[in-house]
């Protein structure tokens, strides 16, 4: 790794100002960042650690509020999350591995903007929002609006995610399924999150596209008809059609479209069967 300066500010304001520099990067859990730095893809001059900002912790007050520095493992083991948002607990079990989940944080997992990650499509389908701190104060943004492209988020370089807020599941039933095409334990080729709230169905696709995307055409076809096999077939076709998918080492574009068709249906089924 190329040498760099490590800053460990104690306040959000300091962190924000330290980030306002050429080639500075925030460091949360660092699991993804270290990979890029070791590969030489990223050579930051300064890393700003967020671990002393007091941004960790899980709170439930109807909504689920997760501090950005909360580790994935803490989220996975939270009884409150399991009771109110069991789809998150289930998805975390197969997210990377225990050591990564011990260290990686919720904020980092959202900000990193690697489309293969599991949480962005899932939290987008659940209607989650992030709270963002920057030099001009705080703003809120829907998770689905957080992504600009492959490894590109919509944050300014001196902005930080401080919290994620997920609305109460209420009667919403949701599922997240992913599919790997090499070993079983791999980055997914396709990840699909589905949330069914009465007649409304939200579908978010990850991994196959360069950023997580809502599948609007599929959602329209499924509206009020999630239990209808014909609607499901149509939605699967529409999903494969509307998503902009390119071939990569996980499979050709045509094959990944097939996986989108199959996994859209399977995820809808799974969501309908889910307890919540």
């Amino acid at each position: 790794m190329t040498p760099f300066e490590l800053a460990e500010p104690g306040t959000l304001a300091q962190a924000v100002s330290l980030l306002d520099a050429e080639n500075a990067r925030p460091l949360s859990g660092g699991t993804a960042l270290m990979l890029m730095m070791k590969a030489g893809v990223l050579r930051p001059a300064r890393l700003v650690s967020l671990r002393k900002l007091g941004l960790d912790g899980i709170r439930v007050d109807g909504e689920l509020r997760i501090g950005a520095m909360t580790s994935l493992r803490e989220l996975e083991r939270s009884a409150q999350v399991k009771a109110g948002w069991p789809v998150i607990t289930r998805a975390l079990r197969t997210l990377s591995n225990v050591r990564v989940r011990n260290v990686a944080t919720v904020g980092g997992a959202l900000a990193h903007a690697d489309p293969h990650m599991d949480l962005p499509p899932l939290l987008a389908a659940l209607g989650a929002q992030v709270t963002i701190a920057g030099p001009r104060g705080e703003r809120r943004l829907a998770v689905e609006a957080l992504y600009a492209g492959y490894l590109e988020n919509t944050l300014a370089r001196d902005e930080l995610i401080t919290q994620v807020t997920i609305p109460s599941m209420g009667k919403t039933r949701a599922a997240y399924l992913k599919c790997t095409t090499r070993s079983a334990d791999d980055w997914p080729a396709v990840g699909i999150a589905v949330a069914i709230d009465g007649d409304e169905v939200r579908v978010v696709l990850g991994a196959a596209t360069d950023k997580p995307v809502r599948l609007a055409a599929a959602e329209r076809l499924l509206k009020g008809r999630a239990a209808d096999p014909k609607a499901l077939d149509e939605a699967a076709e529409a999903a494969a059609e509307e998503a902009s998918i390119e071939g990569d080492s996980h499979g050709s574009a045509a094959y990944k479209k097939q996986l989108v068709r199959v996994y859209l249906k399977r995820t809808v089924h799974e969501a309908r069967r889910a307890i919540h």
Partner: protein, 163 residues
């Protein structure tokens, strides 16, 4: 750029001069001569570099040593008793033949200890999930599953006895 950090290593208070870009596994080897954690894939995917920091297993090859300031760091070298006696997990790995070249073994032993601390009586699915981030190219996986089950039985039996 180097600065001194202090932490506890295998129960002892220690300090080391580290640069920000140095990883935990590098510092353990270079400064403390501890070779049980070892870098293999360099991407946190094989588990050979497993180290326990503040009771959580981490990939030492992706963990900056600087972040260990004031932490409690434990390695495979502290896993067995003072007299050289093996802990139940290590003994189960020996008895089940759950190792071949041995390069990945310390990582598996540490992860299994973590698993059994969290889930004292894991089923096969729990074992596969918990250890899925550790790779063994010799593929002693069936024997490792057997060893985890054996270690769980022995730990639970000795816990019963103590009651």
């Amino acid at each position: 750029m180097r600065r001194e950090i202090r932490f506890r290593l295998n129960g002892e208070a220690v300090s080391a001069q580290v640069a920000p870009h140095e990883t935990l596994v590098e510092v353990l080897r270079a400064e403390f001569g501890l070779h049980g954690a070892r870098e293999s894939c360099g991407q946190g995917m094989c588990g050979c570099c497993t180290v326990v920091v503040d009771a959580r297993a981490v990939s030492g090859c992706l963990y900056l040593a600087s972040l260990c300031e004031n932490a409690d760091v434990r390695t495979i070298e502290a896993a067995h008793a003072e007299d050289g006696g093996l802990d139940p997990v290590q003994q189960a790995f020996v008895d089940s033949g759950a190792l071949q070249c041995g390069f990945c073994t310390p990582g598996f032993v540490l992860m299994t200890r973590q698993l059994l601390d969290e889930i004292p009586d894991p089923d096969e699915d729990d074992i596969r999930h918990y250890l899925s981030g550790n790779l063994c190219r010799c593929a002693a996986y069936p024997e490792i599953i057997e060893a985890v089950k054996l270690a769980a039985r022995r730990r639970n039996a000795s816990r019963e006895e103590k009651r």
